[in-house]
Amino acid sequence: MSENENKIYEVFARFKYDEPLHFVGTVTAPDDELAKVYAFNTYNEWAWIEMIAVPRDAVVRVVDPA
């Protein structure tokens, strides 16, 4: 169970219906199921109506910082 087996997930959430999802932070987890648990527990300071976690590997980069 080394840190190397883990993936980084980008976490997005919103707490109002009339606002878009916004970036709240990252979690490191070995799989999607534990990523759900960790994201929920780490960013539970608001009563979110929606939260998603995206593996950083799955992100399609459009413009990279110089």
Binding site: M1, E3, D31, Y38, N41
Partner: protein, 253 residues
Amino acid sequence: MTDIADPREFPDAPRRALADFILALADTKRILGIRYAEWCDGAPTLEASVAASAMAQDELGHSRALLPLLKDFPDVDPSIPDEAPREKYSAVAFLDQPFSTWPTFVAANLLIGGALTIALEAARESRYVPLRTRAGKILEEERFHWLHGEGWFKRLAADGKASIELAARVDEILPHALCWFGRAEDDWLARERILDAGADELRARFLNRAGALLEKSPAAKLVRLENGRWQYDGALPWARFDPATRRVELGRG
């Protein structure tokens, strides 16, 4: 059967059984929360430590939500719902000692936490209204506890050395979890529709949830699938079981 909000409306025997059930649930959640909290800075990753902390808060909160129900029970010492210190708690005896390893945490998360969740699911439609309302809220939070236990169980089961430790802890904890549902002859809660099923059915529901997971680990020898239902492949230690506290005292036999 009609809904009941005041437990004094139940006959004596089911009312006492209900008080014992609430106390066993609240005390086990309290001690489970304390054991989780002891791993807040010792879990294998930062995120797992945060999860241990969050689950500890949840369990302590659930215990605090359940204990005040006992104020309405005339047979219960009023100092208990007031959280006065006690010599004895009706908590699962395996929790008497701290978790010595992370696989112990994971096995208790899955099996002890999982057993309490099955009991609360059976209270979703309870005719005892105060339990029904609390069960719904508690179960929302418990969803993530199961996911945590399941996720870590799969990982440890695939890790040679950790899997041996995990199987040993499952071997120890599983009889405590299975006995916690009680014996069929004491099924007052199902007869009064406080829970939607009796002890044997709740045990079967628990095994059906955990069985497939256990089968894919070195603890597989403890369970077997028979006619589509998972069975425990051992003798439960009823001689050491106390139906009031739901504890299986530690020891032989």
